[in-house]
Symmetry: C2
Subunit: 367 residues, 2 copies
């Protein structure tokens, strides 16, 4: 390298120049398209609780103060709602940040990790970013293949197995009983990283119970989805207290913004708002499923705020996405086969859904 | 360890359970004291620009959307104002986050770093957090000892030398010419990490010029101080484009909140507000300096929004801090000798300064 100052660490030197997701704003800048329907990032078109908005508006005069590095009030409220101790909770700037902490805390360079092929790219990114080696297991019939994941975790000696429940990008889910059986199949030194970003949209039986005595499970959650606060950057994790202590040794202690703490605390208390969002999203999923059928596609059964519509063919999916994009509709297609036959579409408001369905029909007919 | 799941990475296992700063909220919870005057974290009592507040209030309906992972608009404005290319800028959730990226990008485990003894604890924390070895150089006559820092960087083979200009916790500063000479003394493979968190408060001649051709300097800046946005978590760095590219390989791409991007962009455009804050802070520093003198103490010459008042004795300083705390006044004392003789006090509003001075006089007389 030309200059000796530009000697980076071994891990960073070996990393590719890739990013987990190109943001929609950058896609707009690159293509000159202006987005009219933003349904590609599973943001909540229903916004956030009016109580959260009010609390944030009232706190605008406090932005000159650092937030509480311990997020004490927010953890206290989470602890009370989930019936667990505060010492089992950490708060971070979204699940993305948590995934980085987890890779950093658990992995030495070169150590193995298992996840589904096509699962959340940001997890894969952080595993690579800390020098981990990712083993990937194909989806099976549109779902994570739990047996194969456990097998791979075992024979590779994985330190972590990542599973999103409900899943992204398929939207599918497992019951707590299935997850408990999966947990039992994992080796004793393999952590189950259960990403529950979409758990609020899932039926009760998908809720894996919190066991404070089990050091082998971390669950990550967020205010980005059902609470409609993706832009605020606040998420949390439940884990054994020794894992929370390990996070405290490395985390950016003042990293969560004060206004996010304020908003999240107020949002937690507005259960009625979240229930209403969940109901509306369920109705929207049924609309998308019906439309998929009339177009000759199949929709994966979803317990999230999006639906993966299987067009049966990756080229067709790509063509549809491009035609949608040219009409200002932002959706995503998962990056790898066979999921790349699917259009992943967020459930928007009734008006957005109507507009999306109208344009989708138009596009499919034209192609 | 009892459970094999709790096997952490070698670096994390070796880390102590310490945090860079205990937040004032936690001090309140631990002691039962209620803070009346919060002058210990160098937050800006002058708040943020009304234009920033208005922009943020108007954007409250957008919090369900992720921010732009590239912070494009904010970088564009920063680039225009500083006359450099966008490719030399990165935006992060405050300087604290940037310091973590820098340690991660430049250090292999065991590699050496140089900083002043008593300089910013969060930098030390991140160096340790990525397995770096910190060499510390005592302050000399209340200032960073540039010659000794360069010597130590050289003989230890340091990859990074950290220098805050203006300095925290002393408030002192160097001219651009002194810094250029310092830069010349550093080995070719040693990065100068210039932390300019307080640069807006410093005289023009303290501004080290940006040289896009120099890959050996990173400058970190923030909206937390002069712009009064500590709670929002937004900072940025200027560096060689290859360093910015390295950050892009590891950073949390969606980590900066949308509302922080909005607020920071609006704040940048309100130069009059920052000028007014800087003038008011300068007046406040003179008040503190005068009071220090009447109490028989000396104030370090400061180009920041705080003043380090040297009481001449560490025990006296500790006693004063404790007495202030019992009266609800939050200030800090640097952690190591000889700086631990100093009270580090943020410059508050005129009313806060008056109240602080009244209580300080009372406390000093009583002790």
């Amino acid at each position: 390298m030309a200059d000796q100052s530009l000697l980076f660490s071994r891990i960073v030197t070996d990393l590719p120049e890739t990013v987990p997701f190109v943001p929609p704003e950058e896609l707009e800048r690159k293509t000159g398209v202006k987005i009219r329907l933003r349904l590609g990032a599973n943001e909540s078109s229903f916004g956030m609780s009016p109580l959260a908005r009010e609390a944030m508006a009232n706190s605008l005069g406090e932005n000159h103060l650092y937030g509480d590095a311990l997020s004490f009030d927010l953890k206290e409220e989470l602890a009370a709602r989930h019936g667990i101790g505060k010492e089992m909770i950490t708060v971070a700037g979204g699940i993305d940040e948590l995934l980085g902490w987890i890779a950093r805390v658990f992995l030495n360079p070169g150590e193995p990790v298992t996840a589904s092929l096509g699962s959340y790219p940001t997890f894969h990114y952080h595993v690579a970013g800390f020098g981990g080696r990712l083993h990937q297991v194909p989806y099976r019939k549109g779902k994570n293949d739990l047996d194969a994941l456990a097998d791979t975790a075992r024979h590779t000696g994985s330190r972590i197995v990542y599973l999103a429940n409900p899943d992204n990008p398929t939207g599918t889910w497992f019951t707590a009983d299935e997850l408990k059986e999966f947990r039992r199949q994992l080796p004793a030194d393999c952590l189950l990283l259960l990403d529950e970003a979409y758990i609020e949209f899932a039926p009760e039986k998908a809720h894996f119970p919190v066991d404070p005595a089990d050091p082998g499970v971390i669950r990550t959650r967020t205010f980005s989805k059902a609470h409609g606060m993706a832009g605020l950057r606040v998420g949390y994790a439940f884990a054994h207290r020794e894992i929370i202590t390990a996070f405290d040794k490395i985390r950016n202690h003042f990293g969560v913004s004060r206004i996010a703490q304020t908003g999240a605390l107020a949002a937690l208390k507005d259960e009625g708002f979240v229930r209403q969002v969940v109901r509306e999203v369920a109705a929207g999923r049924r609309e998308y499923e019906a439309v998929a059928k009339t177009l000759g596609f199949t929709a994966y059964p979803s317990a999230t705020n999006f639906v993966a519509i299987d067009t049966g063919d990756a080229n067709r999916a790509a063509a549809i996405r491009e035609a949608l994009w040219q009409r200002g509709v932002f959706i995503r297609i998962p990056g790898v086969a066979p999921l790349n036959r699917c259009l992943r579409v967020s459930v928007g408001t009734p008006a957005e859904r109507q507009e999306f369905v109208r344009i989708l029909r138009e596009v499919v007919q034209e192609l």
